[in-house]
Symmetry: C2
Subunit: 222 residues, 2 copies
């Protein structure tokens, strides 16, 4: 009960969170320097939590820290997107494969519900909601892989290009395909066919990759 009222999260994490937001939505641009004194006065706190926040962000790939030189917002190039996606493809299909026997009937029902909801949202063109639902869908089987390290790796990859994945949901044609691919995946889960699940998820993620890749190629300035 108390936990809900008293906020015990360390300052470092709160700072990391807001900086992460700033980087993701572009308020902090690639190449920009993040000096500790500036952030310190900006947030009205001491440098110690700032430093720890910067270490966190470095680990997540949002910034680069050069010893005795300071921190700089990292850039994301099309090559980075390729790097990330080729790993994501393998890890997410692995997660799905592992999840096959851990998913309850209720989990599968939830997958169906989410996908139905997405279908209904198509016409509203509510991109934010669609992105959220899609993430929910994937998170269900990733979580159910029950491999904590795998979950962390995938999370880490996803964080790194939230700034980029939004592209997937800007075109209605792609969304419809996403929903169809989701339905195939649900079907494979329902029949507990690990091999097919793995193959379909790999296919699904790769399709997202191709789509984003084609969208990005001319849009990203680096």
């Amino acid at each position: 009960m108390k936990d809900l009222i008293i906020d015990n999260t360390p300052l470092s994490e709160k700072i990391a969170e807001t900086l992460r937001e700033y980087i993701m939505n572009g308020e902090l641009k690639p190449g920009e320097r993040l000096t500790e004194p500036k952030l310190s006065t900006m947030f009205g706190i001491s440098r110690t939590p700032i430093r720890e926040a910067l270490r966190l962000l470095e680990n997540e790939g949002f910034i680069e820290i050069y010893p005795r030189r300071g921190a700089v917002v990292s850039d994301i190039t099309a090559e980075d997107v390729d790097e990330i996606f080729i790993i994501k493809t393998k890890l997410e299909s692995l997660a799905a494969e592992l999840a096959v026997n851990n998913l309850t009937e209720m989990d599968i029902k939830r997958l169906e519900d989410i996908n139905d909801k997405m279908e209904r949202y198509i016409d509203t063109k509510n991109v934010v909601q669609l992105i959220k639902l899609n993430a929910e869908f994937h998170d269900i089987f990733i979580e159910k892989s029950k491999n904590t390290r795998l979950i962390k790796f995938i999370e880490s990859l996803n964080k790194q290009f939230k700034r980029v994945t939004a592209y997937s949901f800007t075109e209605m044609g792609r969304i419809k395909k996403v929903i169809n691919e989701h339905n195939d995946i649900i079907d494979a889960f329902a029949s507990r066919d690990a091999e097919r699940v793995s193959r379909l998820v790999e296919f699904h993620v790769k399709n997202g990759w191709k789509f984003i890749r084609s969208r990005i190629e001319n849009n990203l300035n680096h």
Copy 2:
């Protein structure tokens, strides 16, 4: 030149390195508490770099930090080994697949040389040297995947159970198989057969896994 003489690495990293060693060789045992004041006086430095070192080690999986409670050396259970290996299998085979077209003839020659060297070391039973050569072998194609994130992930996984992999090289029967599997992999690299390389590396890593798993099951106290 100066760089070679003057050591500019931050204290935090040096501390992290020595603590990592202690954990890996068992001087610091799972469950043991790492309090900042103790480490501070132990190393004769202030708490600030100690804290940063602990964050690093947390990220590498060597310790767990509980907010307002402190740090504890993490345990490695047989389940952790499984978690790690199932990811390692996928990522290392992916790395090999990506490396196929990046490896130069000289790289392949180096792989052969290392494997020959391993063969010659079998009789000496120099386990330390064999472990090192094996790591060198794998590092060559991992590095040549040219996917920085993939390289970092694999490194991170490997670090986490250096305390465990030593098992692989305690039995001569396994070593001979390792060398044979390496030879097959080299052959596939030489013929630039990505699909075969991937399959063989997956097989190779899985075999190591099975071996270690059988060794560990009764030895690890948790």
